[in-house]
């Protein structure tokens, strides 16, 4: 049975954070998920969500994806936590690394995301910055029948 292979890089901040081989592997695994012939458990793993901007698709699809894997998401809303209220990113990142197994961040300045990822010991996912939206582009190359869109 197809098994997810750990990506070489810890983070997914840019569309160039995977090799082309890894990119295709992610889409291949996605195809198995979509066809319901793969069952992967990330039981009790916690994905933290830091969203400085509103989101429908990215937020909900990450939440449902995580729950389908048997894990959880927690909302780290900037208005109710220290993020964006003056605590240095390097402090927040190190603390949340001890609570969460991964973090998805949507923010304005791409360099804030990079700063966070530098200090986080857990994987960081770019859920949109002013510079890139790699989760979107990754999914856009997915094709249900072939795994990848052939152009």
């Amino acid at each position: 049975m197809l098994k997810p292979i750990r990506l070489a890089k810890k983070n997914f901040l840019s569309s160039l954070d995977t090799s082309s081989k890894e990119f295709l592997h992610i889409l291949e695994i996605a195809k198995s998920f979509k066809n319901k012939d793969l069952n992967i458990e990330l039981k009790d793993k916690v994905l933290g969500l830091i969203f400085d901007k509103s989101s429908t698709r990215t937020r909900v699809s990450l939440q449902v994806a995580m729950s389908r894997l048997g894990g959880y998401t927690i909302d780290l809303n900037p208005s109710t936590s220290q993020i964006g209220r003056g605590e240095p990113i390097k402090d927040t990142a190190r603390v949340l690394s001890r609570y969460c197994d991964a973090i998805a961040i949507r923010t304005f300045d791409h360099s804030d995301l990079e700063e966070y990822a530098k200090w986080s010991t857990k994987p960081v996912i770019n859920a949109l910055t002013d510079l890139e939206h790699p989760c979107q582009a990754l999914a856009d190359f997915f094709d249900n029948s072939r795994g990848i869109l052939k152009f």
Binding site: I29, F108, C135
Partner: protein, 154 residues
């Protein structure tokens, strides 16, 4: 070949980088002054073996000619609400409508990362047309992110 029509924004940037990574031809049609980030273009050209894979132009018809995928996004992203009026004016002619689709490849599919503003970047008719993949595209976000999470946390 994928043609993105509209603002050279973060989505356009990531599509450019994916195109370079996978060896897929990407064309960006945008008004002058709304080109994608130059560091992204440089990165794409650096990793791409074929320099002709990426084209940036303000000529929509030329960009669409022969395309297999027509892709667009909102003209004014989150946080740009104050530029709405100016951008609506600047992006005149950069809408995906049924006339434009006729210039693309016969079975070209339509993509939009949503939210969509009908009768601005795309017409309602095109969103609801048989070649529109827009809602399947949205669904795929979930499957692909489920996979991404598995590959990051496996």
């Amino acid at each position: 070949m994928l043609t993105f029509i509209g603002d050279g924004n973060n989505v356009a940037n990531s599509l450019i980088l994916c195109g370079a990574l996978l060896g897929v031809e990407v064309r960006i049609a945008c008004p002058k002054g709304y080109e994608p980030n130059s560091s992204v273009i440089n990165k794409a050209n650096k990793i791409s073996k074929n320099k002709n894979l990426l084209k940036i132009t303000d000529n929509v018809c030329e960009a669409v000619s022969g395309a297999n995928v027509l892709y667009t996004d909102v003209w004014s992203s989150m946080g740009e609400e104050n530029q709405l009026e100016k951008k609506d004016k600047d992006f005149y002619g950069f809408s995906i409508d049924s006339n434009l689709i006729r210039k693309a490849s016969k079975d070209a599919i339509i993509m939009h990362c949503l939210p969509a503003y009908r009768s601005k970047e795309i017409t309602d008719e095109v969103i609801e047309s048989k070649n529109s993949r827009i809602f399947e595209q949205a669904e795929n976000r979930m499957h692909v992110q489920q996979s991404l999470l598995s590959c990051l946390l496996a």
